[in-house]
Symmetry: D2
Subunit: 344 residues, 4 copies
């Protein structure tokens, strides 16, 4: 019962098969292979519009390179103060975007609100050029707290962006988990909601190492091949990364994987709630944030449970993540542990 | 009665004379002139220890280059969320320090508190290498709100820095204003209080364009000549900048200028307080933050008053800055204006 | 008969098996998995000294991140003017090393000579700080022209580096190809010859995407985990990359692959030479540079031959690369084509 | 008789007077003063077109910031291999242009030739995105060897730039020296000859610290205020820098100063030539490169002569620079020294 993250698991069999199948003969290197070519079409089909796609081997690179295409070095990127790009990527966005400034903004349940951003934009305009140029809004979907922006919430941010000429980036490391909850089309959840560029992750949902930077706004993709190469992400045998995505989209594997993970998260939430534990946020994707005493946490760890303390040593909050490989058996074990827990 | 800033005024006559006097014959360029050599000795004498000094023409460059010597590109700089380096330098620290991450932290009256910083350090250590490396604490003395860290407050930060191996930077754009209030020696207010490197400003206190990066910790100055040149701050006719500082220290001009500015600030505070206005912070240097209604602010502006709204359009807060050139006559005019103000 | 590069081929079966075998259960992410741990030991064993190893998914990232650990932002990297890092990585070293300066130096057959480097160092020392700080020597082994530095040539560069306090980097994208020609131990060909850090490539020799930054000089590895993460190269499911190297070293697969590629290159050289064609450089690894008329080149292309024109449109030079998958049958086809070529 | 450089001398009296005169009352800071406003008009008038001008305190900053506006971080800047930006600015262009790649190209007498640049562009286009994006041509006028591009030579480069969509930058540290030799208008020597942006220096021609980035191509100036501030070059008391240029243009001071320096250089050349010494390049501005034996050089140094060895310890070449302050008396002394030199 390891709920540490959705990246501790392996590769989904269908994706592994795709890698095996791609290992045939020679293919042009550096993304000129037939798999990479088909990838462009496949993504365009999935998102119902012409997109430009660039692959990376990490989400860190996907986010950071995407932001570098949206933000000049003297620009500001508005993000939630708990955004992964702000807190967990060791300054990678600052490296790839050449010192562009991340402006962390607070917001309930991991969500940015338009008025808070607008205040920053106004200050920057009033004091030009002393404050970094308002360039980009970056949101995580699902958020770092496992919640989801609803379409109208995205729309409100997009209107602000349009009004002030900002670009919209979505960190979609768990986009698919949000998509199956939203129940809309990929297009509706992305470019139709104002997103210019998305970091679209598959690794946390069954792939080996497959992240894609998807440009809905094609103008922003101009010359991006240079950034991609220079960022150390133009893989020579690219076919073995492109083929992961081809399998990912085949027969709705991506959606099925996310549906399963989300379902497991809801079941897990039910287990905790039925035994009186409090959750800090709605469970809308595949992450839970549970209030536990240190004793309960230690007990579960002792029983082999894997999960992280979250938000500092005194927060009392613990994160549990489910994946496409999480089994109901694992949930049952956790349930039993809780039920059999002695008075602590 | 212009209280917009302490950089709207001109050059102090004694400093101008020094520039005129330096305009004699040839001198080696790029800091190898006799004035620049004497400068090193003068600063070492003033601070009662051997220091390394590098001149810059702006405070932005002084702060940013200093931080680049203290912080690796993958490092974190902990600063107040209203720190000048975080809000008013358009990302210059991120440029010069190669994308090092500024971590803004809240604190009352513009001051950083050790416990809040410690929390960030602990999180970074626990999640290494996902969070930027804890490298540097940067404080402004006087703070952006015209308050002053007391020596014991500096000591508390210095102990934290020592404990965790961080470097301490002081943005001393208004160091002299703080010094005369503290009433201690320059040494006590800087390296004896744990500061490794200071951005020491003279421009706001009577110079033309004279900022100095002062290394108390000489180890950190190693190879800094390269950063200084590469940062575009190695001025060819350096004597005309070094000589400003030589005059600045002559006959305590720096201290007298700051004493005057501070005194004017206290008088101005008295004027406002005596008429029932509230000040948001203690007046400990040469800045005031006064609570005014929009009508009163507009009235004063109409009368020729110069000052800035501060902290956003709805804060109701206005900043007034005095300088070494502020006259009592100007204060009297403001006093009269307030007294003769019609009911608004 | 495709000789375009050694990265157009697929994954060696033994390496693919290793990936399949690693796809079992959960493993800690971000390099804390058991495969990554064993990797450190394996590399240390192979190189007969304690090394620190960091994996990347591209050679571009390996080279650039390695250089960033050896060179301060204000430093100079001396390299051959045809070095891959100088001509084929779109400025990636400049990105990751924060604008450090590549100083291209000419040299016969792709090799750097100590005296030419020494001249640059002397100039830099004389004009400090106007010229970038002499920091690093970077060489490619095998070189971009398929030649190999002999041990005494490496030693001469290492002595210069030691004398002036420079670091030595080896771009070992084809290190194994050079190693089997040198006929010495990996240790003798690297750290015993003065190399501080190597970019050790496996992708061009049978892996999927496996490049390693190997620190022989452990002091230089300090805090490198931060650079690795920040560079977007800390892969979450790292086991699938570590396992490639484990298979690579198993049963001398790496050496056998390189021996095969080199042998094919020699045979190919023999074919060209026996028919009167000139080679521009010695064939010491798995690359040939053949002098061809445009008509001959076009004829071979028409017959399905894959290879690149090299050194500009008027050089008359064409590069042929062999790999661990090149078959004698392919060589035979080329041989026949040449023999049956009509008078052009 | 100090001919080390044109920046060892002081400030021209008319420029010093202008600084003194500007020291009156308060002025808005950060370039919003009346002097800075007039500066824009004055430059536009001098160059007979609407320009945007930004001041810096060093030529290093002027060149580097200008290049950052013309070149994306993944771009290439083609320059002479002896260009100041390549050899004497410690990597400042790489810092300010975020790691853009300087591509050094050889050329006689310090001049770039279109065909050599074109070769680089062609290679980059053929191998996109592996080679840095062809962005900018940067030339020095006068060149580092004191020679001058003729208008038709500039035109040839401009045509290449236009043809391939590159920007043209001129390092005009000694532009005025070239202008008086060319005998054309400032407009003809700059934007009419295809220059998009110039670093226009006054410091080497009599100012204290006054360099200007002049945008002829206004589109490239968009958002440059941000780069200027972030680069640490937005001086608070900007009036004292703007006023230097106002005096510089007054009564043709700039042209007179340059005419004088150039005339002195020609006289000095005459002295050397009349005594049988060889000059390595034409004397077209205010620099000479004289072939001297080490003994003669030592003799002159012993007599108090100031000049630099140039091009390495074995070149036998020495640089002499004249300035607006060089006197005929100094030349006479040198002449006498040479004439009275004992047989060495």
């Amino acid at each position: 019962m390891n709920f540490k993250s959705d990246n501790i698991v392996g590769i989904h069999p269908q994706i592994m098969e795709s890698i095996l199948a791609a290992n045939q003969g020679s293919e042009p290197s550096y993304g000129n292979d037939s798999y990479s070519q088909r990838l462009q079409e496949k993504f365009s089909e999935v998102f119902e519009t012409q997109v430009s796609v660039y692959l990376t081997s990490t989400g860190t690179a996907a986010n950071s390179l995407a932001l570098s295409a949206l933000t000049p070095p003297f620009g500001a990127i508005y993000c939630h103060d708990h955004a992964h790009i702000n807190t967990d990527e060791c300054g990678a966005p600052e490296l790839f975007a050449h010192g562009a400034k991340l402006v962390p903004i607070q917001g309930l349940h991991g969500k940015l609100q338009a008025p808070a951003i607008k205040e920053h934009i106004s200050a920057a305009r009033a004091l030009r050029p002393h404050i970094s140029y308002p360039s980009t809004i970056s949101i995580s979907q699902a958020t770092e707290f496992g919640t989801i922006y609803r379409l109208d919430e995205l729309q409100a941010l997009a209107e602000l962006a349009t009004c002030y000429g900002l670009n919209m980036h979505m960190d979609g490391a768990r986009f698919t988990n949000s998509l199956v909850t939203l129940g809309c089309t990929p297009a509706e959840a992305s470019w139709k909601a104002g997103i210019d560029v998305m970091s679209f992750g598959a690794t946390k949902n069954g792939a080996m190492a497959a992240e894609a930077i998807v440009f809905f706004n094609q103008a922003l993709a101009q010359d991006f091949d240079y950034r991609h190469k220079r960022g150390g992400q133009l893989i020579s045998k690219a076919r073995f990364f492109a083929c992961q995505f081809l399998a990912y989209f085949e027969n709705d594997l991506w959606l099925k994987n996310a549906q399963h993970a989300n379902k497991m998260a809801l079941l897990l939430a039910g287990i905790f709630k039925s035994q009186g534990y409090t959750l800090a946020h709605l469970v809308e994707a595949n992450e839970l944030f549970v209030q536990l005493s240190k004793k309960v946490a230690a007990y579960l760890t002792g029983k082999g449970g894997g999960f992280y303390e979250w938000g500092g040593p005194d927060s009392g909050l613990y994160r549990f993540v489910t994946s496409c490989f999480t089994s109901e058996a694992e949930l049952d074990i956790l349930d039993s542990c809780l039920k059999q827990m002695p008075k602590l």
